[in-house]
Amino acid sequence: MVSLTIERLSKRFGGVQALRGVDLSIESGEVFSIVGPSGSGKTTLLRCIAGLETPEQGAIVVGETPVFDSRKGINVPPEKRDMGFVPQTWALWPHMRVRDNIAFGLKIKRVDEGEINRRIREVSEVLGISDLLDRWPWQLSGGQQQRVAVARALVLEPKIILLDEPLSNLDAALREEARIWLRDLMKRLKITSLYVTHDLSEALAISDRLAVIIDGEIKKVGSPREIYENMDNPDVAQLFRFNVVEGKITGVDGNRVAVEIGDGSAICRSSSPDKTTQGSRAYIIFSPEKVKIGSGGISGVVKSSIYLGSSYEHIIDIGAGKPIKARSRTPLTTERIKLDIEECIATPA
């Protein structure tokens, strides 16, 4: 169990700046997710931590030991970083049986035969793959292959385990099941885990804390709840399917501000009260759940509605630039409606 600290990490590929000064501090034993849209630099960050890519700048410290430091010229090769890795494709070596796949890293470390067998037995019991040890990778189902890939990383008892979208090759039902046992497992073994995914619900379900990366920059770090309840970054908000509209601040009272939206207004919490001054423009961020339809001071026109199973989601034009999303239990009967925003955050534009 060990912590992982990343300082001002930058990496560019030709003309693409994949990471722009990333700072992160992951506590020991924590399950930490990196989420972000496609091409935001998640995989690049993971690969830099693993030592597969060399950043131009910054430092990576495992516990107290720097494994990379651009200033001091430290760059420990991947095989010396003592990590475990589960790639997106699982990459089980096709020329080795399951047992040999799992044993590979231990053999390199010259662990003795008895200990290897003991550890394989232990890890395969935990992962429920004891019956599969003598099979070839091509004789396994997707879910089984994924477990073997996890076993192969865990058997090394690494300081840190890196997972790059390990569930994305599973079908939806299996994926939901897998994320539960995966989280349980990592918490039980108290392994510091770095989990990369672009699936937000997966990140929320699996992690103690998560970081949102957009365009190579960390925009937000916190527990799923902290992030959800302090949604004050417009880019992150859009990623999490919050509504983001622009409006003018018409009144200030401490950290609460009144904002003009469409033909009405809303009272929001200000993310930075010193900047959201009277008359300035602000982004108003609110969840679709916090839109109360039926009465209120804002009028809107329903553009479309879809049925989600337990509720309806509507796209409503309130004359504030982009239409907003809102939910209701029952279908709407009229096109022109009134609504209210119950809870929102205002952040300077």
């Binding site: 995989t43 030592g51 095989e79 890795f85 790639p87 494709t89 590979f104 890293g105 070839w136 890196l162």
Partner: protein, 517 residues
Amino acid sequence: MNENPLYAGFKPSLQSYIDVIRDSEFRVSLINSIVIALLTLLSIPMGLALAIVIHKVEIPGAKYIEPMIIIPMFISPIIWGFAWLYMYGPSGFLPRLWGDIYGVVPVGLISAIIHVPHAYVILSTALLSIDSSFEEVARIHGAGPLRTIFSILIPMMKPSIVFSAVILFVLGLEQFGVPLVLAAPIGDNVLTTYIYQLVTLGVEIPYSYIAVVASIIIYTALTLLIIQRYLVLKLAKRYVTVTGRIRGFTKIRVSRPVALALLSGVLVYIVFFIALPLAAVVARSLSPLYGSGYQVTLSFYETIATSAPLRTAVVNTVLVAVIAASISIPIYLGYALTILKSRSRIESGIVDVASTLPRAMPGLVVGLAFLWLYLFTPLRPLLYSLLGLAVAYVILWSIFGIRVILTNMIQISSELEEVARVHGASQSTVLTRITIPLLRRAILVTWLIIFIYGIREYSVPVFLSTKNPVIGSTIVLLIGSGELGIIAGLATISVAITLAATVIIFKLGWKPYGAIG
């Protein structure tokens, strides 16, 4: 039919096989061929090392080095035989640098060296198809770069290594050019030179005997190739794993000294085994003497230009290559389209199986087969004609060409169908407006490859172009004449044309991967 001289003494019986096997000269030739075939397998470790260094290690200039590794494939073994003779022969520019180059073992080693490109291409195809995450997991789980190469990469290439081993063994077994130059003259025959000797030296040509020798080669090669197909299919099934979104292909970073050391190794290979021998061909074509007596003269080229048979050979070579390449395109294209349209598994299966046939037959035997075909069928007008030779080429290389076009077609076919459906275009409109324009590059590449093969070929025309010589067959005929300067001149012309065409192919962005196989 028995009145025909070619069939005189033809007894289709087991007895002829027994006769052949009892013949000690045949047995020695067979053993020599097997020795050469086994030594040719050394091209695999060399090709493997080159493939790994070029594709897997960050070395400077890899992009420029790769064509130089591949080019030798396009130059005929007989020219390579002379190239080694001119450079490293007893009276060459660097005499005996590698020791004696005459004899079965040196021929086997040279055969290995000139087949490195074949191994390189097959193994590169395999290497490039391995997703990098297999190595990356190994690295992160504690394996260093060398360990990763030996425990992960090379074992994962096993199916291709088996595959290339069989092909290279067969190529070695059927080797004709190098032994003709460097083994036969000192009395060491191999199977092909033995057949050649039987045809050319005997007063009466023992055709039935030749047929038996040839069929033994073909059976052996065919058996090996069938076993290979089976093994590869079996292995390939196992080696298929999940493929998600493939991450791509990353190289191993090494320190500057290591990169430079590897680069020098590759350059030493290119300089000593490719550049110097070829330079010797050019140099020898410009001077009657090596070493201190060296003086530049164009006299050999003047002879080639003025002597009617030699000049004709040069012109014929280009003509045959152009004719073969040009008639091959509509035929291959038509055939590929038929296969694709009928979506017949059987037919593509046949293409697959039949693709091994040309390899199972030495060029000399193919030449003989066509000679007989033209002699005894209504195709007689083709006998000894340039068109007849070109037809032989087109048929011989058809499977290869059809594959190149088919591979390209399959890549575009689904979109093609969609376009056709949506826009309601007729089949023929789709063909002329979409398929063929999209295949333009593939067609051009196929044309150039058939052209290069046409320039290069030396064994098929030996019996087939008696009245219309080409460069390859002329060089074969000149062996023993001592006309080394003329041979060097002809070889230089052949290599120059080949290189020009090769440059265009590489400029077109062609990669040979998957081409053999």
